[in-house]
Amino acid sequence: MLFSFANIFAQEGSDTLTNIVGVDVVAGKMNFTSKLSTIKLDKEILSTKSSENLDQILRDYSGTNIKTYGYNGMSNIGMRGSNSSHTAVLWNGINLQDPLNGGVNLSLFPVFLIDNINIQKGGSSALFGSGAIGGSIHLKSNQEFNKGLNSTFYTGIGSFGQYQGGMGINLSKSKFTSSLKVYYKEAQNNFPFENTEQFGTPIQEQTNAQYQQFGLLQENSLIINKQQKLNTSVWWQKNSQNLPPQMSSLSSEKHTDNESLRAIVDWMYLKGKSNFKIRNASLFSTLIYSDKEINLIAKHRSFSNISEAEYNLNLRKKDKLQIGLNNTFEKGYSDSYLDNTQRNRIAVFSSYKWKPLKKLNFDISLREEFVENRFTPLTYTLSANIIDIKGLSTHLQLAKNYRIPTFNDLYWIDGMAMGNPNLKDESSFGEVIELAYIKAINKSNFRIGFNAFNTIYTNQIQWVPVLGIWQPTNNKEVWARGIETNIEYGLNIKNWNFSLKGNYNYTLSTIEKKNNSESDDILSKQLILTPIHNGNIAYKMSYKSIELEYLQEFIGKRFTTADNTEWLKNYSLGNIILNYSKEVMDKKFTIGFRFNNIWGTVYQSMPMYAMPRRNFEFSLRIWI
């Protein structure tokens, strides 16, 4: 990742290939995204991160603020001043945002099951649909042919009773691949901490924070002939997690059981300069929340079936056209709904890349969605790209994005809260300018990037007390704007590699319109839990097969009240990663050691959730 300078020139996806083997299931849409604000983590990088979850990877490398409800607890992300339901997480092109609450828990995605991660900052609803307002995270599997039979194992052990292991087997023939990965992880999370929020500031051990995760991923890819390829993926995962008490509370008996099953079938057809893709995904999810203290058990289930057809055409001068149709059927069940709820959404989308000059291109993407009996507003992305004029690249973009209300927003009902079936879609309109300069001198590379964004979020959904009942309304408007800077330096001397990468983000995200019931004091104030300053640096050095990496993350002050009268303190964490890899007779192994929070920082990611000080993880991965 630290030597990923070439990425920004990789404007052409692999769809330009004339061989069906290289046609990627998601490359078509990625052709129309900005490469300047995309962070790519490929299989090689992720192979040394097998024991980590997606939230940890994003915390280390994306320079974004990850909000975590306790160590190894539920995690979500906010990009460019947006909130957690504004970031789409797509697996092989399928949006995994839950139709019930719009959220994705990043701590439930083990890196061992993922081959590629692309982190795309900025909204792109015209390409990826509802929910991709602040950014999107793309998880993808690799299918490699002609690699024979191989297998991989990994095991890990960490502080606070953390054990994990996984194995994978992959059969790779010239026209067929099949792989199976299974994975298990558990932790006690019983770390000691000084509870500054309790009488006498006792040193205590975290309680009720245990979790178990078990996952299985099975994927196949079949080349039917020179024109056709078929992929299937099935991902089953089960998680059982206790929810720890907040520091000011004495105990917790809260627990969640989460189970998901995701299945995708892709068929791709290649002819000449065009390809045609059809995919169908079925997503099942169950969440059972319980709290013994108040005798509460709440069950929530959702089902989504997403069908998509996409046609990509490569025109003369490398112009590209994409048109597509998406049908998403969603069904939700909850103890807090009157009945099963469902809806059907049909979207048409199209993108065109016009490349009048070798180093100049323009993209336009459009999407129109029909939800049940209404059309959503037309969403679009317009962008201009100047690529590598003496090392300088520029991307300008105007985009309108949207998010449709979740089932909870629409249909939740109990004695204290009531959904609002008349909610409008959230929308955003924003402008972005991105600049990057790259310079390579002898054996060193240098890149500096600068992005500025300005976005207005309108009709934001917010639950407020209305006549004694909490109800969602559409009255909130948020203005997010800021700058992102990043810098990369890489140096290669014989067997030594050095690299330095840093991100810094300045984000103002202020409330401009509010609900009538809210205080006037919240206007023009920063959104809660959204740091104005955040960033990270990563320093890596490697000698032959030994890698040493130092990571420092810093998160600024985050307000916890809408009128900005209270806040969480800023914090900065340092981590060290040491990896050693060796190949012996076609067999490779990697030993990893990770030392987290080396400065022993006391911090809170979310209010009142204790986090551990220094802790360790060991891992071993073998490829046979």
Binding site: E197, S248, I294, S517, F554, A562
Partner: protein, 347 residues
């Protein structure tokens, strides 16, 4: 190359050590104080205590945090002062924090109770209504701060009152509903009975040896959660056997949660709670409700003291609320910014 990195890391580490010290304000001594409970936003652990000194008209916010350098917890439901001790019922943290009433210095914490709400005390015994375990009164020793007994009540016990040797508890229903009051013998710590008096009993007071209960009433829904009607809110007067002697309908379609007594003990002011607008007065002599409110604001909490009405505005639970001080005619004397989600005060 390495030097700038080390400098950068050092700077970042120093930056991380920056302290946000609260502004401390010295608490007046030997002054009457009102103890305002600010619930905070549920799940954020930012409940706070505000102190108001009526003699000097002085307000001090975040008094507990400034004194003890930590937060109270999640959802400060109520405060109660007894024998120089301040008891803070921290609902969502399932604990009672105890501090010196004058200096707010922490004294201890009472645990092993679930979802505490309100407290009364007598003879060094405190009675705390708690929603957990189906509804209980936790009886505590107010000197050594331990739980000495539990008595089961109806669902969701709220405000309570000691009258002679009886404890009367309003069972407000908690997360569901109830229509009873519990009568407990405080000599034996035994439940005598649960008496049905009206939908959602929330508040209770004794005026001239007469016990009044505010029943909030409720909204009636069909199976599809459509509103099909209301059960009226009412004032219920109890007889000496703690049965309903008389009831006075207040509102057919509005549901106030609190009431408070005027200085001359001739008027009950009614208001407060989610979705209820205004403060109304009920004349105890004529037993009639004045349908013209003395205030039109939507208060969340309501208290009276020394001839003044204290209304608490909690518009959104995500920003600071306000305490509105009025005379008994509703004329506003001052509007003061307190903590997030103020709901009432103890004194």
């Amino acid at each position: 190359m390495k030097k700038p990195i080390i400098i950068l890391i050092t700077l970042l580490s120093f930056w991380a050590c920056e302290k946000d010290k609260p502004k401390e304000e010295e608490l007046p001594k030997d002054k009457i104080a009102y103890y305002i409970s600010n619930e905070g936003a549920y799940g954020y652990g930012n409940a706070s205590l505000s102190l108001y000194y009526p003699e000097d008209k002085k307000l001090i916010n975040k008094a507990f945090k400034n004194t003890n350098n930590r937060s109270i917890g999640d959802v400060l439901q109520s405060t109660y002062i007894y024998n120089g001790k301040l008891f803070m019922m921290v609902n969502a943290s399932s604990k009672v924090e105890v501090a010196k009433a004058e200096s707010i210095e922490e004294l201890g914490v009472i645990s092993n109770l679930s979802l505490p709400r309100y407290m009364v005390a007598e003879n060094n015994k405190g009675y705390i209504s708690s929603w957990g375990n189906g509804g209980q009164i936790k009886i505590i020793d107010t000197q050594n701060l331990t739980i000495i007994d539990s008595v089961e009540t109806g669902t969701g016990p709220e405000k309570l009152l000691i009258s002679d040797d009886k404890l009367i508890v309003c069972n407000g229903g908690g997360f569901t509903e109830d229509s009873t009051i519990s009568i407990i013998d405080i000599n034996t710590n035994q439940l005598i009975k649960n008496e049905v008096i009206g939908d959602i009993p929330m508040d209770i007071m004794e005026v001239d040896n007469q016990i009044w209960v505010l029943c909030k009433g409720k909204i009636l829904y069909d199976d599809a959660w459509n509103i099909i009607g209301h059960s009226a809110s009412k004032l219920v007067l109890l007889n000496s056997d703690f049965e309903k002697e008389q009831e006075y309908i207040l509102f057919n379609e509005q549901h106030p949660s609190h009431f408070a007594l005027s200085e001359d003990k001739k008027t009950i002011f009614i208001g407060g709670g989610y979705g209820f607008n205004g403060i109304y007065s009920f004349d105890l002599n004529s037993k009639t409700l004045n349908t013209n409110p003395i205030s039109n604001e939507s208060f969340y909490g309501l208290s009276t003291a020394e001839g003044l009405i204290y209304g608490f505005l909690s518009p959104d639970f995500s920003s600071s609320g306000k305490m509105i001080i009025m005379d008994e005619s509703g004329n506003v004397k001052s509007r003061l910014v307190v903590g997030v989600g103020p709901n009432g005060m103890g004194f």
